[in-house]
């Protein structure tokens, strides 16, 4: 018996040897790419540990955690991200569901709208917003005002994720079944459709979180102290701390994007946000 097993396993081993190897040119390209992408991260790491001269240590990180601006700006960005996600749930999710359900003829319009944030650069949108809205102060003088442009920044990803999610769902049948059982719109959306859209929504939510946590343009022009603005201000006089913050920011992006990838939506993680 054992002889047969070994006899069978030999050819499998042989085919494995014959499996094509990665060519030389491909290997060189991948090594060069690894150098280009890893060196800046490693150098940022070393820089963040530099304490002047030849001493290295964690003082930049300790200082970072003890700066009041760090926690203030971090939680401000986090709060704005959550608010942006909530606004998307109120404005975009129901509208998309009803368009798929009741007015498919409006879908091209929604698709067009979802490309507008790409056509209108962030700096142009903020120009337009500040020109048009000079009040009321409850709207424009608190950081919450940023949620409006952030909603548009996140719109393309939210639209794409929901559109794909709703396409694969048989929304009409699900809704009719719900209605014939006497469920109202609230129940249909919350108990029937949203649970079926979970993966799509998690992907879009994490991507929104990533984009808002790193967003600089709107906040900087409107003079609100979000996390990216804090990193930039820190970099003006404390470059090692800025390096520590940049690495921290990369880790955050990494964690969120890992979440996007783990939820299994390969296509959700496409075009990057705030460059």
């Amino acid at each position: 018996m054992s002889a047969t097993t070994s006899a069978v396993s030999v050819p499998t081993g042989a085919t494995r040897v014959r499996k094509p190897r990665l060519g030389l040119s491909s290997t060189i390209i991948l090594i060069l790419a690894a150098i280009f992408f890893l060196v800046p991260l490693i150098m940022t790491g070393i820089f963040s540990l530099w304490e002047g001269g030849n001493t290295y240590g964690f003082s930049a990180y300790v200082l970072m955690l003890h700066t009041s601006g760090f926690w203030y700006s971090f939680f401000l960005s986090l709060r704005l991200a959550v608010e942006t996600i909530l606004l998307s749930f109120v404005l975009l999710v129901p509208a998309m569901i009803f368009v798929h359900l009741k007015a498919p003829q409006l879908r091209p319009l929604f698709e067009f709208i979802s490309t507008l944030p790409f056509v209108i650069p962030a700096i142009a949108l903020i120009d337009g917003l500040t020109t048009l809205y000079t009040g009321p102060s409850w709207l424009i003088s608190t950081p919450n005002y940023l949620v409006i442009p952030y909603f548009f920044l996140a719109l393309p990803y939210g639209f794409r994720a929901l559109d794909v999610g709703l396409m694969t769902l048989d929304v009409k049948t699900l809704t009719e079944a719900g209605q014939s059982l006497g469920a109202g719109w609230g129940r249909i959306i919350f108990l029937l459709l949203l649970p079926n859209l979970t993966t799509a929504l998690i992907g879009a939510t994490l991507l929104t979180l990533t984009i808002v946590m790193g967003e600089f343009t709107f906040a900087s022009v409107l003079l609100f102290h979000t996390f990216a603005v804090f990193i930039n201000d820190t970099g003006q006089n404390a470059i090692t701390e800025a390096a520590a913050l940049s690495l921290f920011s990369f880790v955050i992006t990494w964690l969120f994007m890992l979440g996007v990838l783990l939820t299994g939506r390969r296509n959700a993680a496409t075009v990057g946000g705030a460059h």
């Binding site: 404005l91 209108i120 650069p121 700096i123 020109t131 990216a228 690495l247």
Partner: protein
């Protein structure tokens, strides 16, 4: 009996009104905070103290703004080209049959992260590396290579192009992978069987098929770099002539300019981006036809 099941009556009316309420709410929000600001910009760009005027649009031809337009277009094209070439090469390398699966998933995940890693942290990562006091700069100086004396500067267009590549290459990789995966193995086999070299295969079969996808990807990359503000601002502290930086300088009152100049610059950017998107969707429609 659930209250909504009451036929006719309030439930039915609500059932008909609620969907339109939410669709209308979304459209109203878009109209108020996205469309209206854009229209206001366009109107402001052609309105002076005495009504309609083209003088602000004409002043975009001034030397300062012409340079900004040129720089923005050079930076966007150069970084898109670098992203296009290296993104496609890396995508091709990891899609080889010999590439191990773990390598493929590492490259894919890393692309998802680094295409979203931009702005201020990216700028500082490159300042730590290739800035005037960056580690690689200092290291190279120790071995006798002074890159700053040789004309390189991280705070110039070439430095910005290099920094932008950090998100452009992964972006390209993500965008082009489906197209490269779409190249059928049989085409390569048929070409090999007929005695064609690898170069002939790519010149006569592979690249012509990929061309529309490559052009579409180029436009996407061009757009992402053209409208970038955070990365160049953090890298140069606002000391570089780019459209986005000029607009923010007008907005924050850093330069003595009429707000109409800012509006005209913004309108110009939107025009370029609209053109990019129109050509992009035409190309995408073409590739979609190919795939069917």
């Amino acid at each position: 009996m659930p209250p909504t099941a009451g036929s006719g009556g309030l439930g039915a009316i609500l059932g008909r009104v609620i969907p339109w309420f939410f669709v209308g709410l979304f459209l109203l929000f878009v109209a108020a905070f996205l469309v209206a600001p854009t229209i206001v910009l366009m109107v402001q760009a052609v309105t002076g103290d005495h009504g309609f005027t083209l003088s602000y649009l004409a002043s975009l031809g001034d030397y300062q703004y012409r340079v900004a337009f040129q720089n923005s277009i050079i930076l966007a094209s150069a970084s898109a080209l670098v992203g296009l070439i290296f993104g496609a090469l890396i995508a091709h390398a990891i899609l080889q049959p010999g590439a191990p699966g773990w390598l493929r998933s590492i490259v894919t995940s890393f692309s998802a992260v680094s295409s979203n890693f931009a702005g201020v942290p990216l700028a500082f990562a490159f300042i730590s590396t290739l800035g005037a006091l960056g580690f690689v700069t200092v290291l190279l100086k120790h071995v006798g290579i002074n890159i700053y004396a040789m004309g390189f500067s991280l705070y110039s267009l070439s430095g910005l192009t290099l920094t932008f590549s950090y998100f452009q290459i992964p972006l390209m990789l993500i965008v082009i992978t489906p197209a490269i995966e779409g190249l059928r193995v049989q085409w390569r086999e048929a070409s090999d069987g007929l005695g064609a070299t690898s170069a002939q295969y790519w010149r006569l079969i592979g690249l012509p098929i990929l061309l529309p996808s490559l052009l579409a990807a180029f436009l996407l990359l061009f757009g992402s770099a053209f409208s970038a503000y955070a990365t160049p601002y953090a890298l140069t502290n606002g000391n570089i002539q780019l459209l986005t930086i000029d607009i923010s300088n007008v907005l924050s009152g850093n330069v003595m300019s009429d707000p109409q100049i800012g509006a005209a610059l913004s309108a110009g950017m939107i025009l370029v981006m609209a053109l990019v998107l129109v050509v992009y969707s035409l190309l995408s429609a073409r590739t979609a036809k190919w795939k069917r």
